[in-house]
Point group: D2
Chain length 140, copies 4
């Protein structure tokens, strides 16, 4: 599944465009990071909320997909922004809370990391991931 | 406020990077669109969920900010993906459901549009927007 | 389906306990009300958030179940509270935004109504309803 | 704060009506339980989703209120139902993820417990709690 996950990730042109990296995959978890370069900022110089929600969405998709054992999509998620996305890097750590035959519920913690490596929690997300066989719609 | 909204939008480097356009602003509503070019796709050739969630997040921010009368941030939102983001363009239409002194609750409908102009609802979102004065955190 | 919906509703002992009424059902919509009697209040004398979230959950379930054509369950939902649940009655109006073969996405508007009949929007909710055949879990 | 929390809880007539108990409070956490008696069931004999969402809402309110140091209200929350609420008892364990001056973001895990004491996770929730000073609306 690790190789499968990387193949999927590498075929997401938006992930490449944003500059995201699939840092780690586990049996039901995934970590995705991105450097906060100027193209990813909003009007105050912090990472744009859309970048943070991309990390939430995609880390949830991969954590759930790994738990479900195949290609998967985010059906829905919710995110609370806690602090500005400042620093040099964002890292989303997602894990699966519950797995069924066709869907998984996952949570993701999104951290900003400064140049000394200090992590600050900047958002938390929770959502439902479904196997692509189980749903006509899709998200990621 | 219209000019202020456009100035804010133009200063969001991520919005420029993604290729988004602030199509319309009203007293408590906003429309943002983006062309579905190849950089914005996922592994199946549809718009990546992260692009759709960016549109949700940012359209909510602008709708709420216009209702609140100033610079604003998305505190939290929830999105349900309904159908794949196919076609040539995505358009998010957000409006404000309720406005207080410091926060607004808004909803956004995100459509995909094909080359004949037919619109298909592909996601719905709901979230809380706060004035920047009212919150230390931020999102967009 | 109308009769089926009423039969289901009448077999929900919690709905009876709370004093809720299934006011109206349509092809993909439902309205549920409850009188704000003292047992349903919180520490400030308003309707407890749990009563409002019950109305959100259950109105979403019935709207989605009617759209899906059978017994259904709320898989997840999100609610924003807007104003205190004051007055004599609460009324939730839920409709279906999108229907698939096994799940529907619905929204609900929850109003408080005073003794002169004036309605005030006090909460908005959005969630996913699944057919009982399509999911091992359940909620309502 | 522990005594304050208990006083608030005891003045919630809906909590008394449902039969809920404030089992535990910490500096930024709270546990609330309820016995699954027949009045709290839905059409399949499980705990109604509205009971589970009440536990989510109220445990989030108390966890956040304790973190914020005063009377508080749930501004919004999201819940994913994972499994039926079967067994003899439901227990919600909520903790605070992030605290600001006026609002806290909290998560709650809701378990069903059978007569041998075995706990099964049946729902997860995430939401925003605000001090009553900071918001005109309210929920719990």
């Amino acid at each position: 599944m690790t190789e499968f996950a990387r193949t999927i990730f590498d075929s997401q042109s938006f992930s490449t465009f944003v500059g995201a990296r699939l840092e780690h995959v586990g049996p039901d978890s995934a970590e995705i990071s991105v450097d906060i370069r100027s193209e990813l900022q909003q009007q105050h110089g912090f990472a744009h909320g859309g970048v943070i929600s991309y990390l939430a969405d995609n880390s949830l998709t991969f954590a759930g997909g790994l738990a479900l054992g195949g290609d998967a999509l985010t059906a829905e998620f919710k995110i609370n922004y806690l602090r500005p996305g400042r620093g040099t890097k964002l890292l989303a750590r997602a894990h699966t809370v519950s797995t069924g035959s066709r869907q998984a519920v996952c949570q993701s913690l999104i951290y900003s990391i400064d140049d000394t490596g200090i992590e600050t929690l900047c958002a938390v997300a929770q959502g439902t991931i479904v196997t692509t066989a189980g749903r006509r719609g899709e998200s990621a």
